[in-house]
Structures are given as structure tokens and as C-alpha cells.
């Protein structure tokens, strides 16, 4: 298969970016999108052109590093996958494919398609944990969690922290990301003692870091590679309100 690639190039955070167009040919349909970019980069290097930088690591859809906005969609045209699990069979031979980084005021570009997502770490550092010290836990079966609750908590915990929700949201809101963590913990009996503080602190940090407000467009849920439901946003809102009332 052959493709025209219109790719965002940006030297660093300070300089302005622009699109460049490249051609790749002889791509097998079982090749992944990132492997196709590897092939492009091999070509560029030998032509003396700086290869395209992009974040990637596990290439099996779990580390959350990849963060490409392809033909106007976070992680491209296939549903419920990260970019690394997108395969060229989802494109038409000869197609022009536009590749950009995830865009958000809170995710500045480092280079080309690589973005800075420290804001997510900061939100979690504000309260996305249970403050248990190593060595102080009771027997694991001393805490009973019914199957369905554990499964629902797991649904939310499947978040890979990629930022597709933020990149997709027209308000640049991080509500789905924050909700995934808050809701996953809220469904469990552990850590209730600090639940109010957690919800307040994480929401405050999200606001402080320049993420937008949620207006319930549900675009985040549509584009989440792990299919995390906006029902978790509702649970975050309940947790937040409960926290407000407990003040």
C-alpha cells in the first residue's frame, strides 16, 4: 500500500510548527501505524532529513505513551484502540493521512508529535492514591468486595492515561481522566477516609492546570481507547458534591 502523509513538524516547544508532506510505499496491510512511521523515518534518515519524533513504548496498547491525532481523531479511525494498535488495513491505498499531536493547552508540544503530559501526573499526585504505608495492610480477604463492584472499579482503572479524552474534548477537559481514578477508588471500601479530600484536591488541581470544564458532550467516551464510560464522571460529580457538603 502507498500513502501520502501530512505530518506536523515542530522543532521544539518555542518554535512554530507546520505540516510537511511525505510519501511512503510498499506498506503491508498488517503493518501497524507506528511501524509505518518507522519505515518513513528510515527513509528520512537516509535522505538526511530529521526523522519524525513520536512517543511510543509498549506497542501493545497498554502503556498509554502513544498520542497521535490521525485524520481528525485521537488514535485514528479504529474504535477502542491506542495508536499502536491501529493497523494500515484501516486505510485506503493511496490515501492522504494527516498526523498531528494531541492538542491541549495543558499538553505542550516537546517536538513534532511528542507532547508533555506532566499535568496528568500532577493531578494524581494531588490525591489519586490511598495513603496506606507499606506493611500496614490487613489480610486481603478481610476486605470483601462483591464481584460486580470489583469489575466496575476495574473498568475505570483500565485508563492508560494517554490523554485522548482531553485532545478530543472541545473544552480540553480532563474530567474523564480524573473521573476514572476517583470512581475506581470510590467503588471500593478502601480509602474512604480520604475520599472527600481526594475529590476536592484532584478537581482543584485539574482546574489549576488549565484544563477546561465538562459540558457533557460525551466525545471523550467515544474516543477513549479503553472505552471508559462517562458514568464515571457522574460518580466523580457525586463524590465532589459529597465532599463539598462535608466541608
Amino acid at each position: 500500500m502507498d500513502f501520502n502523509l501530512k505530518i506536523w513538524r515542530q522543532k521544539n516547544a518555542r518554535e512554530k510548527g507546520h505540516f510537511e508532506t511525505y510519501k511512503v510505499s510498499g506498506i503491508e496491510e498488517d503493518t501497524s501505524f507506528l511501524e509505518m512511521l518507522d519505515i518513513l523515518n528510515e527513509q528520512l534518515i537516509l535522505q538526511g532529513i530529521d526523522p519524525v519524533s513520536f512517543d511510543h513504548d509498549c506497542r501493545e496498547g497498554i502503556c498509554g505513551a502513544c498520542s497521535l491525532y490521525i485524520n481528525g481523531r485521537a488514535h485514528g479511525p479504529d474504535d477502542k484502540v491506542t495508536t499502536c494498535q491501529l493497523f494500515m488495513r484501516h486505510f485506503k491505498n493511496g490515501e492522504t493521512i494527516t498526523v498531528e499531536p494531541f492538542r491541549s493547552a495543558a499538553f505542550p508540544v516537546i517536538k513534532d508529535l511528542v507532547i508533555e503530559r506532566k499535568a496528568f501526573d500532577k493531578i494524581l499526585q494531588a490525591g489519586g492514591f490511598i495513603s496506606v504505608r507499606t506493611g500496614s495492610a490487613q489480610d486481603a480477604n478481610g476486605i470483601l468486595i462483591p464481584h460486580d463492584k470489583a469489575e466496575e472499579s476495574m473498568d475505570a482503572a483500565a485508563c492508560v492515561g494517554c490523554g485522548a479524552c482531553v485532545a478530543t474534548c472541545r473544552n480540553g477537559s480532563a474530567m474523564l481522566f480524573v473521573a476514572a481514578r476517583v470512581s475506581s477508588l470510590a467503588l471500593l471500601p478502601q480509602g474512604r477516609a480520604e475520599a472527600a479530600r481526594r475529590a476536592r484536591a484532584m478537581v482543584a488541581k485539574m482546574d489549576e492546570l488549565g484544563f477546561g470544564n465538562c459540558t457533557n458532550t460525551r466525545a471523550c467516551e467515544m474516543e477513549c481507547p479503553k472505552g471508559i464510560s462517562v458514568a464515571h464522571i457522574a460518580r466523580l460529580n457525586r463524590e465532589f458534591l459529597k465532599a463539598k457538603f462535608s466541608e
Partner: protein, 648 residues
């Protein structure tokens, strides 16, 4: 000099050794902990849990991570589960049985004392992870669920769907975040360690490159902990993440830390087969699938021919014409034999011409019987995400047709040699998790990597490092402006300058692929004296080509992934060669290491306990000199050493 290999294994009965060692270890008072700095390199299960636990104790911790966030570390990709001797299933599991299974699974090439401690700690790990909010699978009454893994006959594996590594890593990352918020841990994402700095022979700091600005920076401490995982990417194609590398451990090796059992690499039997030359990595299908999936190839070569020509589908081959070769050869364990055994059996069938895809390098993993026995919903709940992942990658539906799988490089049991305190042969330098060699011998059992990473990080290192640091709290902060740091930085700078000066006509990846070919063909599933000697020669030649022909684009002081890869590839050459040298001296077959010269008439691996019951620990002697082999004898006081038998 055998005096360097003092394993510090406490005397006394097996079950009392860890308690005894803990009682001997000197303590550091809280006010003195505040004065002590510790560098942790790596943020996977080992590094993140160690940094969190050390932070809780009150030490000043700096943790370094090559990714944009600690949460990306490759532990996240572990699928199946984590073992613990809880005996929640009342199936007669115990600390002893977990210990015994691990020793046996490792083909009697690991230390009894270390493995027993691991089994002893395993239960506390599950307790701690549940307390952190890890959503392990539960039954309807709310009790924890278990499943089985290869090489064992009890159900002791705890799991969170097919994402156990992710959930445990997010737990450790959350604890790390708690300590970052508390100010005890400082995190340096997008930094890569490029050298270890010794002061008077002790580990006192590192040189790291800021991957965003490209600049070299110096960091000092009272001790350094390496938690950078394994070196499976030496083979280019492996199940490891693209950025996983062996550079940190090689820097330590070159500074005097011994490298133990480098040739022990695990080849995982259930990976998605290679599809073509454009492939960048291999994807694992969790071992948990072997709980319910059955592995087979056709009995008749004519069916194989038809499969390869797409004239029939696997589901059309009748039961009587299927060869469930693991069930046939190993009736006691069946599809749940250890990984090394399952991998070799797949290779044996494919070498005999029964491989089921066009390349002849694939076998079936079939869920037909499981679906009819358990029903669609139950199978979906257990393996749904793995089925979906398989479908996305291969465009084939495992609900309709069996999965195709083939072995691939997955894990490295070898690593930095450590004593019982997890300290390397360099004072003040510790190694934990996959980066050390300690617990898995010649072959790691499934669901034991997560257990080891967390045992080391949460419960062992934070205790044992105290013994070293109790003698250091009066030492001043390490001065990073001293000449040793200056020289170390200059050496790294010279290395980088050399790479940019070459400007040849080969990309880094193309040379790495060549190295992978050499490794897979000669230091892979079947190793021979001839092949290993060839590998050593070929690696030397390829390294020479690299220094003449490689092209590293861009400049140093910017975000530059090509430079990162080139620096790592330099180290992969040396690791690959060391693996081949080690494999050459170990003339027995053992665990994942199969020497074709050493096999039984039935083609099973033949161990040689009389001559090789030792840990090979290699000492660096300079770039142009062969490394020196030291042997740590393995003494089995508590278990009877037997030939592994998964047949009866």
C-alpha cells in the same frame, strides 16, 4: 577472587533465614534517614515500589524514568497475574510449595534462601496491593479469585483481568505519587542514566541525560538502586517495550558489578507469530490462556499443507486428526508446563514441518472446548480483552478460529549479581526486579516477575539497604562538582560526540535488526558450540560496522530519539556478546538455555549438575579483554535436586 562473591546467606533453617537477617541488620534512626540520599533508576514495579517504600521511611529519594511518566514502565504490560502462597483455595498450597515450584521451575539454578524469602513475602504483597485499591478479580461473595499458571498444580495466581501488571504498577505509581506529594521523593521523567559514578569504589551517583533538553546532568547520593528491567531487546524483536534496554546494567557492569547468568533468557511460548519484515515488536498472549486453551498442530502433514494454502480452516480439522502435543508428552501438566518446555515443544513440532501458517512458525491455541464447557460469557470475562487484542492485531477472530502462536523472547533471568541484601559487587549499588539475577534460575515461572519486583521493592530492599546506609549517615552529601563526576561526564560526552561524528549510511534500527537476527539464530531456542562461536564473531563484526556505518541524525541538545537508540544499541552489542560467551561456557541444557549437545534421546533438556550447578558471574576486564568468570556454587540443603519431570 572468590571473596567478591559473598552471598551473605544467613545460616539456620530455611524458614528462619530472612527473620534472622532482618534482626542482624543495623537500623538508621528517623533523623538520620533524612540526611541520606538514594537514587533509584527505573519506575517499574521494582523501582516505583522501592522509591515509595524508601520515601515512607523518610529517606530522600530521587527516581529516574526514561518515559514521560512513571506509569509507562514496561511492568504495565504484564498480563496474567501475580503468585502468592495464600492458600485461599484450600488446595494445599503453602510457602514451601511456592518456594519448591519456583526452584524446580528455575531448573535448580537459583538460590534456595532467596526463593524461600520471595515465597514468604508473597502474601504480604497481595495484602498491600488490595489496601492500595488494586481491583483484583473477586467472586460474587467478594472473596479474591485465583487461577493457575504454568509449572504448578495449585491455583495461586491473583489477577485483574488480563491487566494485572497495569493494575499493580498503577498501585505502585499511586504510592510513588503519595511520596512525591509528601516531598520525600523527587521524580525525573524523561531522564536516562548514562553512567554510574563511583567515589573510592562505592556507588555515589549517576550521569543522566535530560531527554528533552539533551543536556548531561550529574546527580549524587549515598546509594544507587538499579531497577531498569531486563535486556530482552538485544534480540530486536521481543515482547519487551521498544524503549526497554540493558544500558544501565551494562554501565554498572563496566564499573565493576558482576553480571550473572547472562545467557538465561526466557522464550515465551504464546506470542503472536511474526508477520513480516516491517514488524517492530512481538505481542505476548498471556500464559493465563493456557488455563483453558489447548495447544495443538495437525497430525497429518497434508492438513498442514491445506492450512498453509488456506484451503481449509483449523476448525474443520476433526478431533482425531489433532495432535495436542503438550497433553501427549506431558500428561501431568498438559498445557500448563513451564514456558521453556512449552516453547521447545512448539519448536520441535514446527521443525518437524507441522507449523500451521505460511511461515511454518506457528501452532494453534484453541478455545473451542473451553467455550463449549464454560460458555461464551465466562470465557469473555476471563479473557475478553486478550481475545479482542488478538483480533485487532491479526484480523482473525479467536471465537471462531483458534489463535496462532509462536515462542518469542520475553524475559531475562540473568542480570546484575546481587547478594542476599540485593547489593551488587560494587558497595552502595543495589539491583532489584528483573535487573538482578536472583530468584528465577534458568527459567522463570509465570506470574512470578510481578511478585519478585514488588517483593524486592516494597519489602526487601528498604530493609537491607539500611544495613549499608547505617554506616553512611555521617558522610556529607556527594559533591557532584568533584573530578570523578567531571571525568564521568566527559566520558559520556565523548561517547556521544563519537556517535555523531560517524554519519554513515545505515540507520540505528537496521543494524539493531541485524544484531537481533544473529541472536535469535544462534543464541535463541537452540544453541550449539558452533553457532555461539559464530555469534561472537558476527557481533564483533557488526559492532565494527556500526562504528563505521551508522548515521545518527539531529544534534545532542534537543529531543533526539535516534541518539537514544544508538546509545542503547552500543550496549546491546556487549550484552549479546556476553550472553553468547556465557552460553558457550555452560555446556549443559538448563531452563531456557538449551544446548543441542546436551539433550536426552527424547529431546528433553539434559542438565549437568556435577559440572554446572553454579551461578556464572562475569567480571568486566576492559573493552578489549575477555571478561573473567567467577562461579558461585549453588548448595541445595533443603530440597532434593531432581530432573524436572512434568510428565508424571
Amino acid at each position: 577472587m572468590p571473596d567478591k562473591l559473598i552471598s551473605k546467606i544467613p545460616a539456620g533453617p530455611l524458614a528462619e533465614k530472612w527473620t534472622r537477617r532482618k534482626s542482624e541488620i543495623s537500623l538508621v534512626s528517623p533523623n538520620n534517614k533524612r540526611k541520606l540520599d538514594i537514587i533509584v533508576v527505573g519506575t517499574g514495579l521494582g523501582g516505583a515500589s522501592a522509591a515509595a517504600a524508601l520515601g515512607e521511611l523518610g529517606y530522600n529519594v530521587k527516581i529516574f524514568c526514561i518515559s514521560d511518566s512513571p506509569r509507562r514502565a514496561h511492568s504495565i504490560a504484564a498480563q496474567g497475574g501475580i503468585n502468592a502462597a495464600k492458600n485461599y483455595q484450600n488446595d494445599n498450597d503453602s510457602v514451601y510449595r511456592l518456594f519448591y515450584d519456583t526452584i524446580k521451575g528455575g531448573d535448580y539454578r537459583s538460590r534456595e534462601a532467596n526463593v524461600y524469602r520471595l515465597a514468604e513475602i508473597s502474601s504480604a504483597i497481595i495484602d498491600h496491593c488490595v489496601a492500595q485499591g488494586v481491583p483484583f478479580a473477586r467472586d460474587y461473595a467478594g472473596y479474591l479469585a485465583n487461577r493457575s499458571f504454568g509449572g504448578v498444580q495449585v491455583s495461586r495466581t491473583f489477577y485483574a483481568r488480563g491487566q494485572t501488571g497495569q493494575q499493580l504498577l498503577l498501585g505502585a505509581y499511586a504510592s510513588l505519587n503519595k511520596e512525591i506529594a509528601a516531598g520525600t521523593v523527587q521524580c525525573f521523567p524523561r531522564y536516562e542514566m548514562l553512567d554510574l559514578v563511583l567515589v573510592n569504589g562505592e556507588a555515589k551517583g549517576i550521569i543522566a541525560r535530560n531527554l528533552v533538553t539533551g543536556r548531561l546532568e550529574r546527580f549524587g547520593a549515598h546509594a544507587v538502586v538499579i531497577a531498569t528491567g531486563g535486556y530482552g531487546n538485544t534480540y530486536f524483536l521481543s515482547t519487551n517495550a521498544m524503549n526497554s534496554n540493558g544500558s544501565a546494567i551494562m554501565q554498572c557492569y563496566r564499573k565493576g558489578a558482576f553480571f550473572a547468568n547472562p545467557c538465561f533468557a526466557q522464550i515465551h511460548p504464546t506470542c503472536i507469530p511474526v508477520h513480516g519484515s516491517q514488524q517492530s515488536k512481538l505481542t505476548l498472549m498471556s500464559e493465563s490462556l493456557r488455563n483453558d486453551g489447548r495447544i495443538w498442530v495437525p497430525k497429518k502433514l497434508e492438513d498442514v499443507e491445506k492450512l498453509r494454502k488456506h484451503q481449509i480452516k483449523a476448525s474443520q480439522i476433526p478431533e482425531k486428526d489433532r495432535d495436542y502435543y503438550l497433553e501427549r508428552r506431558y500428561p501431568a501438566f498438559g498445557n500448563l508446563v513451564p514456558r521453556d518446555v512449552a516453547s521447545r515443544a512448539a519448536k520441535e513440532r514446527c521443525d518437524a514441518g507441522y507449523g500451521v501458517n505460511e511461515t511454518g512458525l506457528a501452532v494453534f491455541l484453541d478455545f473451542r472446548d473451553a467455550i463449549s464447557r464454560l460458555g461464551h460469557d465466562k470465557v469473555e470475562e476471563r479473557y475478553g480483552n486478550l481475545f479482542e487484542m488478538y483480533r485487532k492485531i491479526t484480523d482473525s477472530d479467536p471465537w471462531e478460529e483458534p489463535m496462532m502462536i509462536y515462542p518469542a523472547i520475553h524475559y531475562t533471568m540473568g542480570g546484575l549479581w546481587v547478594d542476599y541484601d540485593l547489593q551488587t559487587t560494587v558497595p552502595g549499588l543495589f539491583a532489584i526486579g528483573e535487573a538482578n539475577f536472583s530468584d528465577h534460575g534458568g527459567n522463570r515461572l509465570g506470574a512470578s516477575a510481578l511478585m519478585q519486583g514488588l517483593a524486592d521493592g516494597y519489602f526487601i530492599l528498604p530493609v537491607t539497604i539500611g544495613d549499608y546506609l547505617s554506616k553512611k549517615f555521617a558522610d556529607p552529601k556527594t559533591d557532584v562538582t568533584s573530578p570523578v563526576f567531571e571525568e564521568a561526564e566527559e566520558r559520556v560526552q565523548a561517547r556521544i560526540d563519537r556517535l555523531f561524528s560517524i554519519q554513515g549510511n545505515c540507520t540505528v534500527d537496521s543494524i539493531h535488526k541485524e544484531l537481533g537476527q544473529i541472536m535469535w539464530e544462534n543464541v535463541g531456542m537452540a544453541r550449539s558450540e558452533e553457532g555461539l562461536k559464530k555469534a561472537i564473531k558476527d557481533i564483533d563484526a557488526l559492532k565494527e560496522k556500526f562504528y563505521k556505518e551508522v548515521r545518527v541524525s539531529g544534534v545532542q541538545n534537543e529531543f533526539n530519539q535516534e541518539l537514544e537508540k544508538a546509545l542503547r544499541l552500543e550496549d546491546f552489542f556487549d550484552i549479546g556478546k556476553l550472553m553468547a560467551i556465557d552460553a558457550l561456557q555452560r555446556k549443559e541444557s538448563c531452563g531456557g538455555h538449551f544446548r543441542v549437545e546436551s539433550q536426552t534421546e527424547e529431546g528433553e533438556a539434559k542438565r549437568d549438575d556435577a559440572n554446572y550447578m553454579y551461578v556464572s558471574a562475569w567480571e568486566y576486564k576492559g573493552a578489549e579483554t575477555a571478561p573473567e568468570l567467577h562461579k558461585e556454587p549453588l548448595n541445595y540443603e533443603f530440597v532434593e535436586v531432581k530432573t524436572r519431570n512434568y510428565k508424571e
